[in-house]
């Protein structure tokens, strides 16, 4: 029987509260010679830590021991990739150049290029299916292009975001060019933004002025997409997710009030009237039910279909750019915003979505998500590779669209296929997993 060792290493970064989690799995091929399993590691509050800890047969490895699996922060990627030769079975939770999708300016660049190619190769109709991101420009490089567009739509509101930051840091809204001219001229902005201006670029994006509101409150959606390969593209969509509400009512009158406009929980937590007991999140199922009750089943189904389109096309736009590596998989957190016409807009893609839970319910959801991610990655070798569903994950794209119905000679003529996605639907994963997986442990051919 092979032994796995799971090691974790904690490095507390000096800046911020972010704990670095570096966990490794060791598989020892000379298992028969060793004694029983050994689980040693420092305890952390990070959800992934708990998931790994509870996985049967996984053991933590410390320091420089050999490992089979690592869930690391992007800062440690270089070390993980470059220092060691990885055997075939080894898995890492990021692609080398993950930033092509998650850095705001690169994502926009890739999306625009993809759209242009579609327009050239296929046509206008197909290209228009990429119109799911708001008009965006990188500053300062595209400043002049931005100014042209700005002048074309006077009075509209724009949002400035630093490309590399997260959790809502450094973001502000403006309506007048002089607001960002001041910034360039180093005016009244805060220290943080001054430094940011020198170190990183910003993207400027047209602000969605008519968001879909629920009783006056703005919200955005967090959806999880797991990619296990880019060439060919294989992507899974998780059924759970959540809507994050702004704590205050939406209004365009005070664009300086970031608590109104930004829905990141991190920002909301610092708002003066933030009441931690006042939930800021709705589970995706709840949101889907609410929308269905208000707008009817058909409208909501087409909304979710449009979201599927966003996920697939955004991945296709970086398909050729991302360095494919069979050792890599990546779990993305997509941020989607709905406007008052129920059109979904892609705000950004996070390659390191937060797993810090905001409530017991949230913890359980993130736990399931990570557990199922490990199920799909399948270090234990229990899957055949032909599955369309693993736990809460539905296979969304497998070098082509995946349908709920089985496509064969008889049905291939029919045109009413439904996509194999169930975002916001019932997640009866435990039952499904029981039927799907054989019990631990099972030898994986190395």
């Amino acid at each position: 029987m092979s032994k796995y060792k799971l090691l974790s290493e904690h490095n507390t970064r000096t800046e911020g509260k972010q704990r670095l989690l570096h966990t490794k799995v060791l598989m020892n091929n000379k298992s028969e010679e060793r004694g029983g399993r050994c689980v040693r590691y420092k305890c952390g509050q990070h959800t992934i830590q708990s998931v790994l800890r509870e996985r049967p047969g996984w053991v933590e490895v410390k320091d420089e021991g050999e490992w089979d699996f690592t869930w690391c922060d992007v800062g440690w990627l270089k070390e993980s990739f470059d220092n060691s030769y990885m055997e075939e079975h080894v898995r890492v939770n990021h692609f080398r150049n993950y930033y092509e999708l998650s850095r705001k300016n690169l994502m926009v660049k890739n999306l625009k290029r993809y759209r242009k190619n579609l327009e050239k190769d296929v046509g206008h109709m197909e290209a228009s299916k990429c119109d799911f991101f708001p008009c965006t420009f990188t500053l300062p490089s595209e400043y002049h292009l931005f100014v042209e567009e700005f002048k074309r739509s006077p009075g509209s509101t724009w949002i400035m975001k630093p490309v590399g930051k997260s959790q809502g840091k450094g973001i502000f809204l403006f309506r007048k060019l002089k607001d960002i001219m001041d910034w360039k001229k180093d005016g009244t902005r805060s220290e943080e933004q001054k430094d940011a201006a020198q170190v990183e670029s910003y993207v400027v994006q047209r602000y969605i002025e008519n968001p879909y509101l629920i009783n006056g409150r703005k919200f955005d959606l967090r959806v999880y997409v797991l990619v296990t390969s880019y060439a060919p593209l294989k992507a899974w969509l998780y059924r759970d997710g959540f809507g994050r509400f702004s704590n205050t009512r939406f209004s365009l009158t005070s664009i300086d009030d970031k608590y109104v406009h930004l829905t990141n929980v991190a920002v909301q937590k610092t708002a003066p009237d933030y009441n931690p007991e006042k939930g800021c999140k709705w589970q995706m199922q709840q949101l889907r039910r609410y929308l269905t009750a208000k707008h009817g089943r058909e409208t909501v189904e087409s909304l979710f279909k449009e979201m599927d389109n966003i996920f697939v096309r955004s991945l296709q736009s970086v398909q050729r750019v991302i360095i494919n590596d069979k050792h890599c998989f990546e779990l993305y957190g997509y941020d989607i915003m709905l406007d008052h016409n129920l059109k979904p807009w892609l705000i950004e893609v996070n390659s390191s979505p937060s797993y810090i839970p905001s409530s017991q319910e949230d913890y359980e959801m993130k736990f399931r998500l990570l557990e199922d991610t490990l199920n799909v990655v399948d270090m234990e070798g229990r899957l055949t590779g032909k599955e369309k569903r693993v736990g809460g994950y539905d296979l969304m794209w497998n070098d082509g669209p995946v349908f709920r119905e089985d496509v064969n000679l008889e049905t291939s003529g029919s045109s009413c296929f439904t996509a194999n996605t169930h975002l916001g639907c019932v997640n009866d994963r435990e039952k499904q997993l029981r039927q799907l997986l054989k019990p631990f442990p099972r030898q994986k051919k190395m």
Partner: protein, 525 residues
């Protein structure tokens, strides 16, 4: 009274109710207009007009209105019966209700004196303007509510129910195995499982249900798809009675809003919208002390709930208007409660200067806003939300906090809950009683709110589908007993009231329909 005259009395009563209503004038107008049409012939005038009204859908609307009147109509009674008998036939219940109301009003008056705030006052112009501007976001207003206390909480009301006694009934028999172990000691007739099985036959194990047979692993072609198609047809036909029958097996999420509006005959006509707007004008003009109770209640309950906090503003918009709606006073004809009266300042004691307070006669208690919160999931426009809520209140919710002998009244529900538990789970009941954890003490708060705030929203709405479908709150008592049955194993092991409460603290994961179905149809009797 024989059937014939009873029927004609009913017809006469309904005609009187609908005469002069807006629907009446609309139908008259349409009938007059259709006279110009070529297919209306003079010699067959009556039939032609009738068939015109039928094809244009007006007959169906009239049918729905009649159906609605039948739902709220008082049961037939002796011609010499005084009005209070129509509210509540049992004298001791009337007396208990009157005593309770006195206490509540006293509490409200003393709060008014303590805070130095009048029961009602006209707002100065500046304040009116400010409120009008903030109408859609009243939740941002943070009045000083620290000294406002809810007038009463469900547990205060429970004590009153527990002390109810029928003076004509000799309850002094020794406590034995055959006597009632529970807290409610009044001899009302409540239905047991065999009778409930007959009454709720659509819930049995062989019928499809939403909440059970629409579950993920059951193929939708087996039940759900066809059932939803039927639902769409019902909505298209605009038939109240059909909608009510349909709702017994549940309403699908996409159709529920329309179906409930149909069952309640709440069609949001222009005059309803106007009425609602008048009420909002009333809110802006006058400030009532009960408004503070409403604010406090919303802040304490709905705003702290993960799923309802979003609707805070809606709740104010509905409840503040509700307090001022004198149309609600009509339901006191069949409610055992009587609206409290107060006197205009300076004219205390003079009967002619007594006014009903609050204008709708309903004093909100702790948790009241939870009657409205789940409805926010269904209706977007405040006027529609308002009219559905008002109709639900005057048909069902009022019974949950007034003392009456009605089978859907809270007294009967408590007794029914206790009897079901004692009959079918005697070991559990006995055990809980021994450790000082009377089951009703835990279940009461669920039933007073019809489970709102305790179940997850989608499950709550499935439960309320059946309340509407069967026009009865008994299913709430059945669910309470079913919850105890479900957690019986854990409850048998607890040794105190506190631990029993802990076992039953979180109902958010429960699926109500399987529990009800198993309790009613799979319990050995």
């Amino acid at each position: 009274m024989d059937d014939g005259s009873e029927l004609s009395l009913t017809i006469a009563h309904i005609v009187q109710r609908l005469k002069g209503s807006h629907l009446h004038s609309q139908i008259e107008r349409r009938a007059k207009e259709c006279l110009h049409q070529p297919d209306i012939k003079l010699d067959s005038l009556k039939e032609d007009v009738r068939s015109f009204l039928k094809t244009s859908g007006w007959e169906r609307q009239l049918q729905n209105a009649v159906y609605r009147e039948l739902q709220v109509q008082l049961p037939p009674s002796h011609p010499a019966a005084p009005p209070e008998h129509l509210k509540e036939p049992l004298a001791y219940m009337r007396a208990a209700q009157a005593g309770w109301e006195k206490r509540v009003l006293k509490s409200l008056n003393s709060m008014s004196t303590e805070l130095g705030v009048p029961l009602a006052r006209m707002r100065p112009a500046a304040e009116q303007k400010e409120l009008a501007n903030k109408w859609n976001e009243m939740g941002t207003d943070e009045p000083d509510l620290a000294s406002v206390r809810p007038v009463y909480a469900p547990k205060d009301f429970l004590e009153v129910l527990v002390s109810l006694r029928n003076p004509n009934h000799d309850g002094s028999e020794d406590v034995s195995v055959r006597s009632h172990w529970g807290l409610v000691q009044v001899p009302l007739n409540v239905r047991d499982i065999p009778q409930l099985r007959r009454a709720f036959s659509e819930l049995n194990l062989t019928s499809g249900q939403l909440g059970i047979d629409d579950h993920a692993h059951i193929h939708p072609d087996l039940f759900e798809n066809e059932y939803v198609q039927i639902g769409k047809k019902v909505v298209m036909e605009q038939d109240s009675a059909a909608a009510q029958q349909y709702s017994r097996q549940g309403c699908s999420t996409g159709l529920r809003a329309d179906l409930w509006a149909l069952i309640l005959n709440s069609n949001n006509q222009p005059q309803d919208v106007m009425h609602y707007e008048q009420l909002t004008a009333g809110v802006i003009q006058h400030d009532l002390l009960v408004d503070n109770l409403i604010y406090k209640d919303v802040k304490l309950t709905a705003s702290n709930d993960d799923y309802y906090f979003v609707f805070e503003d809606f709740l104010y918009q509905v409840l503040l208007c509700f307090s001022r709606d004198t149309a609600v006073l009509e339901h006191f004809k069949y409610n055992s409660a009587t609206p409290p009266r107060s006197f205009i300042q300076g004219k205390g004691g003079e009967e002619e200067c007594a006014v009903v307070y609050p204008p709708n006669g309903v004093i909100p208690f702790h948790g009241f806003s939870m009657y409205v919160a789940p409805l926010c999931f269904l209706y977007n426009e405040p006027s529609k939300l308002y009219s559905v809520f008002r109709e639900m209140y005057i048909r069902y919710f009022f019974r949950l906090h007034s003392i009456s002998s009605s089978p859907s009244g809270i007294v009967s529900l408590c007794l029914q809950f206790e009897r079901l538990l004692q009959t079918h789970l005697p070991q559990l009941f006995y055990h809980l009683r021994q450790i000082g954890a009377q089951p009703l003490r835990i279940a009461f708060k669920w039933m007073v709110r019809a489970f709102s705030g305790y179940l997850s929203t989608d499950q709550l709405l499935l439960l309320w589908d059946r309340v509407l479908g069967y026009d009865s709150l008994e299913v709430v008592a059945v669910l309470a007993a079913a919850v105890f049955a479900f957690r019986a194993e854990n409850l048998m092991e607890v040794t105190s009231l506190g631990s029993a409460e802990a076992v039953l603290a979180d109902l958010s994961t429960l699926k109500v329909m399987p529990l009800i179905q198993i309790f009613l149809f799979a319990t050995a009797i």
